[in-house]
């Protein structure tokens, strides 16, 4: 997989400010123009041994989103960040993801918080490729596009390490 996938990186104008998503910039609609015709074999493939009462397999979009968030957190430089008063439901919880799936294809928007002094564009690029590859592998869907926005840059003093929560 090349590093090309047309994706965008946006930084908030005011460094740390959690920006209220002026997303939908460019024109993300023209889905993967030159994308290889990668027809994922459809149902009934007799190739795999067990044809135990087939049936459909469906993934809820929120599963895609939660997986994307989880995968993004594995990228070095990405940190959790909750803005707004605790438990108020206000503000943002980063990383945040929204997925748009159509059949086998998937588009994602991700907003992440990055540790200050990490090169944000490199972190964003790493998020993009990591999420694309791992989410594709986990869900079997083809991730056409991942838009990554850096929603916050945080100095170490504002990063609450969630110790012990990441079981590896």
């Amino acid at each position: 997989m090349a590093e090309d996938a047309d994706s965008t990186l946006r930084l908030p104008s005011g460094a740390t400010a959690a920006q209220p998503s002026p997303s939908r910039s460019s024109s993300p609609t023209a889905v993967a123009t030159g994308s290889t015709a990668h027809t994922e074999a459809s149902v009934g493939a007799s190739t795999d041994g067990h044809v135990l009462g087939r049936g459909r397999t469906v993934i809820a979009d929120r599963v895609l989103e939660r997986l994307a968030v989880r995968i993004a957190l594995d990228v070095p430089g990405v940190v959790r960040h909750a803005s707004g008063p605790p438990l108020s439901g206000l503000g943002d919880d980063l990383p945040a993801a929204s997925a748009e799936a159509a059949g086998e294809r998937l588009r994602l928007r991700l907003r992440v918080a990055v540790r200050w002094e990490e090169p944000a564009h490199e972190v964003a690029a790493a998020v993009r490729s990591t999420v694309r590859d791992r989410l594709g592998a986990i869900t079997g869907k083809r991730v056409d596009r991942v838009d990554v926005a850096v929603g916050a840059l945080l100095p170490s003093s504002r990063i609450t390490e969630d110790r012990g929560r990441r079981v590896r």
Partner: protein, 115 residues
């Protein structure tokens, strides 16, 4: 559908399927599941048996892949029931939050093709 004999039919099948699913480490049934089978005094979460087949809704346990989870479900159900099994992965149990998620009515979802 004929007379509801408690020892056969959808109710017993749902229980047997649920028991089989509960032995899988890669998936969890959860109470917020959109489908379930109502039995006197309780609900079998995540399993519904009807004439057209069996519906199973489960959360996948990270880092299980969707394909692994679906295969595990079908393999577990196979000895118990022969119908077609539709599997919906409606949540994921991440390693950083022990609670089982599952929020109300399910949002949109898409189908996965079998490779």
């Amino acid at each position: 559908m004929t007379s509801q004999d408690p020892d056969s039919g959808p109710a017993a099948a749902a229980d047997a399927i649920a028991a089989a699913l509960d032995r899988l480490p890669s998936v969890r049934r959860h109470a917020a599941s959109a489908v379930g089978t109502h039995l006197p005094g309780r609900r079998v979460h995540g399993v519904r048996v009807h004439e057209a087949g069996i519906e199973v809704h489960v959360a996948a346990v990270w880092p299980t892949t969707v394909d692994e989870a679906a295969r595990a479900v079908r393999a577990a159900v196979a000895p118990v029931a022969t119908a077609t099994v539709d599997v919906t992965i409606d949540d994921v149990l991440l390693d950083d939050q022990p609670r089982s998620g599952g929020h109300g009515p399910e949002g949109s979802a898409t189908e996965v093709s079998h490779v």
